[in-house]
Amino acid sequence: MLMIPMAEAQPNLGKNLMNKPAVRLKQTTCPYCGVGCGIDVNVDGQTLTQVNGSSDHPANFGRLCVKGSSVLETNDVSGRLLQPMIGDSVVSWDEAINHVASGFQNVIEKHGPQAVALYVSGQLLTEDYYVANKLMKGYIGSANIDTNSRLCMSSAVAGYKRAFGSDTVPCNYQDLEDTDLLVLVGSNAAWTHPVLFQRMERAKQINPDMKVVVIDPRQSATSELADLHIAIKPGTDVALLNGVVNYLAEQGLLDKNYIEQHTEGFSATLESCQAWTAERVAQYCDIPLEQVSTYYQWFANSPTAITFYCMGVNQSSQGTDKCNAIINCHLASGKVGKVGSGPFSITGQPNAMGGREVGGLANMLAAHMDIENPKHRENVQTFWRSPRIADKAGAKAVDMFEKVRNGEIKAIWVMATNPAVSLPNGNAIAEALAACPLVVVSDCNLNTDTTEWANVRLPATGWSEKDGTVTNSERRISRQRGIMPPSGEAKHDWQIICEVAQAMGFASGFRFTSPAEIFDEHARLSGYENYGSRDFDISGLAGMSEGEYDRLRPVQWPVNAQYPQGCSRMFEDGRFFTKSGKAQFVGVTAKAPVQITSEEYPLVLNSGRVRDQWHTMTRTGKAAKLTAHIAEPFVAVHPNDAERFSLIDGQVAKVTSAFGQVLLKVKLDSGQRKGELFAPMHWNKQFASQANINKLYAPVVDPISGQPELKHAAVTIEPYAADFYGIAFSRSMIMSDSEYWTKAPNQAGFQMSFAGQGEISDWLDWCQQHSVSQGEWIRVENSSEKSFRVMCYKAQQLEFVCYIQATPFAEDTSWLSEMFMLQQFDREEIKALVAGTPTPEVAKGRQICSCFQVGEKQIIEAIVDYGDDTVEKLGERLKCGTNCGSCKTDLSGLIRANCPAVAV
């Protein structure tokens, strides 16, 4: 962990007055979700000492969520890949670059350009992305470059393109605050986009008339804010949304003028919607009629409305249709291109949008130009002066790995992403990577589930080192600034790509010496032969000096002659990028998900994210502060289903689909619909034995976008017959070999939860074998109950504690971790651990507020004993929720649960 000196910034004021200040401020962008918050970093010498939200960044205006505020905790070099490696041997950069270049070249010579592929990431910066795309499509001459954004928003892209003729997000974040009706579909923004969610909360406080509708099969932190939560049957969104259009027509509330002037294809679409009366929708979506009616009335009568949608819509076998169903509602009611209105797709990565802009998807060319369009191909090839230009779409993510598996693709280069975890049917992905003759992985991490299969590992720079630009969900381009020099021998992704390209003989196109040069070319290409024909045009940013590029302030594209300061809202003039200039209604039909339940697999598995983790945990998994909220993967089960499948809370269960199997702890959740399970997608082999749930999903994709159906698997669940359950906390590493285990860093050091079968004859010995702790050990055993407690301490400091029992832990065990934080560890503390009863100092309960480490028991005590009945009162007393605010919905949930008289 990075040593962050506290409050040592001003050692000698007098001296500092004479020289330059010891602490510098660097402004950059958060590396996590698609909100793209500005971050101010205090730099003291070579040490990053503090982060704050940039108060002048329009994405967040000073706010940061808990993930962003903890970014420094994830920024140390532990676990970093610091030198190029071939196999397990460290090699020189020259050797590595030549190995990759010749490896790719050999395959291309023997099998053609379609036999190689790049699988890239929304975590690359635009400049990295740009050169990767250029190499593949212009020089290798194949479009086999796809990005992990395929998994999160390719349906949204396809939906926008079908409707608007361009991949254009019309709205901006300010619209969220200016709307009268906010409809969140398939989004748990409270956890996944907390800063935007805070803006929504604030907007609702300022405007109590603002309505919030949450459409999500499960109750979530986001639904806490909802005036109306519609827990639809998963996959029935199209029916619900088509019903809006039908309702508008029935009630005579269509914006006929807008439809007439700015759209095409309405009548056909209306036809496809007319069957969807509120009654039929209620029945089809398995929801109460009055919920349907209320939503429709609100939408139809609200002067403005935003439909805010994310993975719950996109990750579907008809994700594109769902997006168009949303857009149809807005076109039919004229709620597009206006303040506080529009269909607003949110991305999950810091630079998913940048990837779309440069053409990082296999079915795009570059600068929002189309592969299928000969004029566009000619534009790009001419501009690049490249030897080739890809003339047909390449393999999209899921297909790409299928081609790797069946041998069509023989060399793949994975950059900054972890497909072994994130793609569906993970067992087949592992098979593909194992079989592929050349797997190159550029990453900042030494060990991920993907680097495990790498023949070549190339060390890439990480956040705080990378230098370039990113684009957030509201089309805003921001600088991510290189603050630290690269760690070890790491290089920037654009450098690595350019070096490989040069080694492949493509010197002319890749002589870049800085990200500013790449950005300049990118900006010029966006304006090349554009003349207002393409939405993405940042020609206004071309020609910047290095200094101007470095100082670039956040700006929303397009940036061109028409919009020299950028453009905050698109389509205000009602003109679109279709041939006719009109938006297209796309009539869509409700279809059942492809992965449907059966007698053998009777349950639906939904997947999603938890508040304090991000993606495959390669970074957030390192931060103790972030693991305290939810340290262990789980499967949420409705109590009725738990009874039906003989499961109890906290028990390890085996969740099985036709494609794989995982072991997860059962979490009873009456906010789940019956027959449906939910599990977070973050955990992987680095953190858990068998918790990668994506491997349960079939490789089923949306036929248009190619986005996998990752919210609807058919599974079954059964108890795992564990003979023992254990929880261990340790100041130093803990190892596990139980069939079920999960690990996380925590404030003490490490924690591990485990369960397994068989009998361990000596748990003290087991603990000593599985830890490196040294000191005095105590073991307590109740052999008839098969419960054991083992602890190790040294010099009045707890080193290790492990509780083992035959049944799942019903009691909160977080106090064990707090025992490590105590100033004193003596008689009373030892006795407490022996007896299994927390001392008063550590009875805080499960952590709710990660920023101030406030626990559930403390909060409940404040609610019950002190009558704190608002989130604000709790914040005054305990500070919880007063920093990043990510836990506010948890707080209001606790108030409601413990203070029933209060309406929160």
Binding site: D762, D765, E776, W777, I778, R779, N782, S784, R827, V834
Partner: protein, 479 residues
């Protein structure tokens, strides 16, 4: 004089001798006692047999002498193995052709070392470790050996290993169970004991089933194990446990336990009311007692029955404290926590090589067992809590965890005068206190006066505690 009852004692081990001693003491010369010893010498201290290698002579170890027996008018024969008992005629026949008549026969035949049926066990330089004669053989053989190996990692096996080490051999201990001393101590204690013994230079190999002993390459023998591994050695000692020496009882058709041992009742009578069995050959409630103290108790019960006393044998506490190769080891009561619903509390400090464990009932009120390795300073206190069934005044872990322990308490302070300090010789605290009042102020003086700690030696510490406790009281009184 013809009214004297003829008592023949077969075997003159520690227990046989104790019986004679007690019978002489308790009776009014109404018995005519004959002792038949198979070994070439009279009783000696087998508990401290290993000291034979560290300089003690056979004489130093002897518990009695011909002169002493003669002075008591006891007929005694060495090298005299009984080969047959004729219960109808009430006679015994010895291997030297002697036939003797008895009224009461006492079998104190002890036990013999169990040698597992391993092919090659008869090879040269393969010994057992039981008698002074065995030790002489080992000593002679060791002079030509470099490596020695003990089959069996129990109490005796470790004693034997120590002996081999002292004889200058590179020493291995091979144990079938996953741990050392599986009878007396638990897995954790065994682990710590192994670590300590290995630190002393003895290689310990647990979970090894010996398949065959055959020719070695660098040594005389090679032991091959079931797991495929092998060890070479020049000398093999078998110490794989004991078996009750019940051959005579079988020959004369006394009731024998399923797995051996002469069945006795609380008076130590066998199925023939005129024949008693005591010590390691006797099976009481299906248990063999392989320690000297219960053997003594049996001897006293048999004597009591012969003399119309009331002492019976009602089992024995197998608690023991000893030093193995300088490693202090203590085992009290239910060391394995086999009592249903028992709770276990362990403390381990690997750096200092200390392992301690206490076992309590489910209410944590009573101590029912303990294991101490590396540091047995709490032994007396724990044994007292166990035997007196004192209610625990603090949490069980406080008894053994140094951070939780208060000032060391002298366990003798709270001991009742009627409590036994020496279980072998049934010496109470009161007896020792009296001896102290009479001027005995050292352990040796007390030992000489009361016999306390003169047998197995476990209670030496407690005797010292009683001295300290009494001295402290005197000091208070004086001041």
């Amino acid at each position: 004089m013809t009214t004297k009852q003829r008592v023949i004692v077969v075997g003159n081990g520690m227990v046989g001798h104790h019986f004679v001693d007690q019978l002489v003491a308790q009776s009014n010369q109404q018995f005519e006692i004959t002792v038949l010893a198979e070994e070439p010498r009279l009783a000696y201290d087998r508990v401290h047999l290993s000291e034979y290698f560290s300089g003690k002579s056979a004489e130093d170890l002897s518990l009695t002498s011909e002169t002493y027996y003669q002075s008591l008018g006891i007929d005694h024969f060495v090298n005299q193995r009984v080969s047959e008992i004729d219960r109808s005629r009430k006679t015994v026949l010895t291997n030297q052709g002697k036939t003797l008549e008895y009224d009461k026969l006492v079998l104190a035949t002890g036990s013999f070392p169990f040698v597992p049926p391993i092919p090659g066990k008869e090879r040269e330089n393969c010994f057992v470790y039981r008698t002074i004669e065995d030790l002489d053989l080992i000593k002679a053989a060791a002079e030509k050996c470099k490596v020695g190996l003990v089959v069996g990692g129990g109490l005796l096996g470790l004693e034997a290993a120590n002996a081999l080490k002292q004889l200058g051999l590179k020493t291995h201990v091979v144990e079938f169970a996953p741990q050392l001393m599986p009878t007396q101590i638990d897995v954790g204690g065994g682990r710590q004991l192994k670590a300590k013994i290995e630190a002393l230079g003895v290689s310990v190999h647990t979970e090894k089933a010996t398949k065959i002993i055959t020719d070695g390459e660098s040594c005389v023998h090679k032991l091959e194990f079931a797991d495929g591994s092998e060890i070479e050695t020049d000398l093999v000692l078998f110490s794989a446990g004991i078996r009750p020496q019940d051959a005579l009882a079988r020959q004369c058709a006394l009731e024998i336990g399923e797995r051996g041992g002469i069945v006795i009742n609380d008076n130590c009578q066998t199925s023939d009311k005129d024949i008693y069995a005591i010590g390691e050959c006797a099976l009481w409630q299906n248990r063999i007692f392989g320690l000297v103290s219960p053997g003594y108790t049996m001897a006293r019960a048999a004597v009591s029955h012969l003399t119309q006393g009331e002492v019976i044998f009602s089992g024995a506490d197998m608690s023991t404290k000893l030093k193995l190769m300088g490693v202090a080891v203590g085992s009290i009561g239910d060391a394995h926590a086999r009592t249903p619903d028992a709770l276990t509390f362990c403390y381990e400090n690997p750096e200092e090589g200390v392992y301690k464990k206490v076992v309590t009932d489910t209410q944590q009120k009573h101590l029912i067992g303990a294991v101490l390795i590396g540091d047995t300073s709490e032994y007396d206190h724990l044994l007292q809590l166990h035997l007196q069934k004192d209610e625990l005044s603090d949490t069980p872990e406080s008894l053994i965890v140094p951070t939780l322990q208060g000032e060391p308490v002298n366990p003798a302070d709270t001991m009742a005068d009627s409590s036994f300090v020496c279980l072998c010789n049934l010496v109470t605290k009161g007896t020792i206190v009296d001896a102290i009042s009479a001027g005995c102020d050292t352990v040796d003086a007390i030992k000489a006066k009361t016999k306390a700690s003169s047998s197995c030696g476990t209670c030496v510490g407690m005797v010292q505690n009683v001295i300290d406790s009494e001295m402290a009281k005197l000091a208070v009184e004086v001041s």
